[in-house]
Symmetry: C2
Subunit: 191 residues, 2 copies
Amino acid sequence: MTGGRRRSESSRRAILDAARGLLLERGYERLTIDAVAAQAGVGKQTIYRWWGSKGAVVADAVLEGGLAPPFVPLPDTGDIETDLRAWLRAWTAHLASGVGTSLILALTAATAEDRAVADVLYERFTGPHEQLLRDRLESARAAGQLGSQVPVPTIAGVLIGSLLYRVLSRQAPPTADDADMVVRLVLAGVA
Amino acid sequence: MTGGRRRSESSRRAILDAARGLLLERGYERLTIDAVAAQAGVGKQTIYRWWGSKGAVVADAVLEGGLAPPFVPLPDTGDIETDLRAWLRAWTAHLASGVGTSLILALTAATAEDRAVADVLYERFTGPHEQLLRDRLESARAAGQLGSQVPVPTIAGVLIGSLLYRVLSRQAPPTADDADMVVRLVLAGVA
DNA sequence: CCAATTCCGAGACGATCGGTCTCGGATCAG
DNA sequence: CTGATCCGAGACCGATCGTCTCGGAATTGG
């Protein structure tokens, strides 16, 4: 028999919206499923029927909330330095805001804690952003703007990692000047 | 009155040893204070008398367990490329091992979750390693092996961040080849 | 329209864990 | 000896995760 009530789309949205709001407001550790259910006006079973764990809910909330790629776009003006600078500056601006910092800390906590969640987030969040960067670097290499000594994945990893380290060290948020210097360093190294 | 029983050094050591072992074995999230107390043969109150939280115990355990700097030394042979390569290779080897990965994931989880713990870990773990790197870069700059365009803190952040990203993405652990390419990229950029 | 099926919100429930408190006993200074 | 402080052990509390149950609502096949 194929009968039966269908999944409520409004409940699904309410759950993800509540999870996203509470995540940014309280952080991953202090986000509780009870609070998500209460704020969404939903029974807990409705959450656990569709998501296996707290981490899975958070991952989906992030990925469906306008935070997924390409919410920081990577333009292609033909000049790799201009484009990388714009991309890295947009990220630093986002990460310097409270929302961006909370987001990355939450994703990092979830990643460090649960391997399955880490894989989902890499596949649907980190990976696509990294791929965006790699594609642009490849096109720059094809245009002769990059030397061939250093592989594109290494360059992408260095750019992303330098950003990540600034956020995770929780000392001083990255600035536009930092972004520019990283771009200069990396491009000088591959020119 | 100054009387009273003195703090038991053997209990302190047993607690930190147990915490370190359980941290590497189970990760930060699944490490419980009950388990630490049981494995150390100690009452829970003895833990909470001297440490304020689980994060504080973990931070101390890491910092006192031979995991603190400079367990990865940074030599000074006079050639910055040789030294950076040795340092980054040692780190990649450590991080590619299960212990190193577990350690970094645990520290990252603790950092992302608790600001106070983040500050302690930066002050006594990350910061000293970063300082080691900065000092060596400064001496290279003084020796004329580095151009003056990119600030030393930026260079250090890029080197550390590229490592961190590889570990946190949980996709493939970094290799010696990766380390060499990062060094080549960074040094070409600042030569 | 009816029956079977599946989802819904609500909330009770058991298990786990962080952190506090209490207890009898041990160790220190004076 | 006395008072203070620490010790191991474990009861206890509150929060939280995840499961389970309940009556009710939606949906489909007959």
